[in-house]
């Protein structure tokens, strides 16, 4: 790394494990400059308001009765609060069913992605062979194939395999598409785990597989969390192949369900805003719970590039 060249002693000692202690420094060093602190708060809050304004406006619309949606003077706070839009979405549309499907598909995708990409990532991280580097590049290059052009050929394959309109078709595709990215992130993460631990374990007579299961996986928890989150967001929001490869409500996912609410001749704005709000909830909840691990996972991976 660059800074090791510039600051050899400091950099090395830090890399060897003092990184985790950075929290101590942060707490100890209280910034006395109140003005700049207030400045930071102000900027953050302004940014937050600007970024959130479309979302807040959408939520506000979802809580208004129909005749207050289009008004020449905008009201951010609904004059009358109603829950009918949400009730209509939950009771009268198949969207709740789509939520369940999406959750199952995302969960299966995460499991499958972790299952196939963590061993690969481990090998890529530990191997110095040229062929491995080329393989990794080939993996990454599949991320560059425009997804659109594979719609027809994949549909042909999936229909021959009788996989159309099942959870599995989406799980297989999402896993395949997320794998290169996940392998790459996990690889960077595993590279930060010191080799010495495994080597001593190998000398003690553990098999490579045991080392992987008992040492590498537990140590790469945050990396796995980070990958899971990114995979979750990608699969939760995927639209084009979801609409192509599924055809019934039994397996349909949320983005397609959302799009189906848009009529040809008219659009019921209130319920649609309610549905859009609802559709972000699961991912949001996940974020609030997992963000610590997500950031931690990326922290380790990130510096290694």
């Amino acid at each position: 790394m660059n800074f090791i060249k510039i600051y050899p002693t400091l950099g090395k000692s830090l890399l060897e494990g003092k990184l985790k202690k950075r929290g101590v420094f942060i707490k100890r060093k209280r910034n006395k400059n109140l003005v700049s602190k207030i400045g930071i708060y102000v900027i953050l809050i302004v940014l937050l308001l600007v970024i959130f304004s479309p979302i807040i406006w959408g939520i506000s619309t979802s809580l208004k009765p129909r005749d207050q949606i289009f008004e020449s003077i905008p009201h951010w706070v609904p004059r009358t609060w109603v829950s009918e839009n949400y009730r209509s979405i939950i009771k009268d549309t198949p969207l709740p069913k789509h939520f369940g499907n999406s959750l199952i598909i995302c969960l299966l995708t995460i499991i499958a992605t972790l299952l196939i990409s963590s061993p690969a990532a481990y090998k890529f991280a530990r191997s110095r062979q040229r062929s491995m580097r080329i393989t990794l590049f080939l993996f990454l290059s599949t991320m560059m194939v425009p997804g659109l052009i594979s719609l027809i050929p994949l549909y042909v394959i999936m229909s021959h395999l009788h996989l159309l309109n099942t959870y599995w078709v989406l799980v297989i595709m999402y896993t395949g598409w997320n794998a290169p990215f996940s392998i790459w992130i996990l690889k960077s993460f595993i590279e930060t785990i010191p080799r010495e631990i495994e080597e001593s374990a190998l000398i003690d007579g553990c098999s490579e597989f045991q080392v992987f299961c008992k040492i590498i996986l537990p140590l790469s928890g945050p990396g796995l969390a980070a990958v899971s989150t990114i995979v979750f967001i990608n699969s939760w929001n995927e639209f084009i192949s979801a609409v192509t490869f599924t055809s019934s409500d039994a397996v349909r996912t949320v983005p397609v369900g959302l799009q189906m609410l848009l009529g040809y001749y008219f659009i019921r704005w209130g319920p649609i805003m309610a549905a859009a709000t609802l559709s972000t909830l699961p991912a949001l909840v996940l974020f609030l719970f997992l963000q610590r691990q997500l950031v931690a996972g990326l922290t380790k991976g990130a510096l290694k590039g």
């Binding site: 905008p74 061993p119 990794l136 560059m144 052009i149 395949g176 929001n237 983005p255 649609i272 972000t280």
Partner: protein, 285 residues
């Protein structure tokens, strides 16, 4: 030899799946790109490189490539800039940092469909919310979706709005990994905040910065959904990116052969970007 064979076993599941999903599709499209394959005809004659020759002479395509590059650059710079700014602000010692960090991640959670709907709803003309405020404040209202430059700006804004949390989260993670001792050492050496940032923090972040930039630019270059929902390439050709042009040829003009040709060229452009990326990060990969 045996060692390398077991090595490959570890990679096998991923390799099989990825190959299964891409190789046939890729071969199918290579084949298609040498054929004339319109919807209205049931024969698909082999036409050699005619599609590629047409593409070379296709003014629309090259204009859209230029537009795509413009879009990619502006999206990447802005999403990166905004993400970096927020990351820097969140990396200070303030309260509610966790909560704020969580909140700033929210736009990333929104699906592109929802993003498109919200943006259309927000910037509607002549009397959407933004314009209503403009006229209340006495500012000239703007034809958001009718003016080519503004419409282009809007799809950039929508991309930046949805994708900047990715940049933010990666950069924040990297920033938090910068050892505090280094900054202190720099301070002792007499460097100001700005100088310490330039000379200590930035060089350390170079790796993550490049990762974010390249990934953002790949996402931006391949944007389809957002344009489909917001502008469909209009007004005029103002928001017709190369990726969307491919979509149009495939599923709107129904010329699969030509669409596949565009797809192959876009793939090549993407590969060039990746090579650039691999090259820059070579010591690390």
């Amino acid at each position: 030899m045996r060692k390398s064979l077991t090595d490959q076993l570890w990679i096998l599941p991923a390799a099989v799946l990825i190959t299964f999903l891409t190789v046939y599709a890729f071969v199918f499209n290579i084949n298609l790109s040498f054929r004339k394959y319109p919807l209205y005809s049931d024969i698909r004659p082999f036409v050699g490189v005619e599609n590629f020759r047409t593409l070379l002479a296709d003014y629309f395509f090259w204009a859209s490539i230029v537009r795509s590059l413009k879009y990619t650059v502006s999206c990447t710079v802005l999403a990166f800039g905004l993400g970096f700014l927020i990351a820097l602000l969140l990396n200070t010692k303030i309260r509610f940092r966790g909560l704020l960090r969580g909140l700033f991640l929210v736009p990333w959670v929104l699906s592109l469909v929802a993003t498109g709907i919200l943006f259309k709803w927000f910037f509607q003309e002549p009397d959407g919310l933004v314009n209503q405020y403009f006229s209340l404040l006495g500012i000239r209202i703007l034809p958001w979706f009718s003016d080519p430059a503004l419409a282009f700006g809007l799809i950039v804004a929508a991309f930046v709005w949805r994708m900047h949390p990715f940049a933010m989260v990666v950069l924040l993670a990297a920033l938090q990994a910068v050892p505090e001792e280094l900054k202190e050492a720099a301070k002792i050496d007499g460097a100001g905040v700005f100088q310490s940032f330039i000379h200590v923090t930035l060089p350390l972040l170079l790796g993550p910065i490049l990762v974010v930039i390249i990934i953002l630019s790949l996402w931006a270059f391949n944007t389809i959904d957002l344009i489909l929902i917001m502008t469909r390439g209009g007004p005029g050709e103002a928001t017709n990116l190369a990726s969307y042009l491919m979509y149009q040829y495939a599923f709107s003009y129904w010329r699969f052969g030509y669409a596949a040709t565009i797809g192959i060229v876009l793939f090549a452009v993407n590969i060039i970007l990746t090579l650039l990326y691999i090259r820059i990060l070579k010591p690390k990969v």
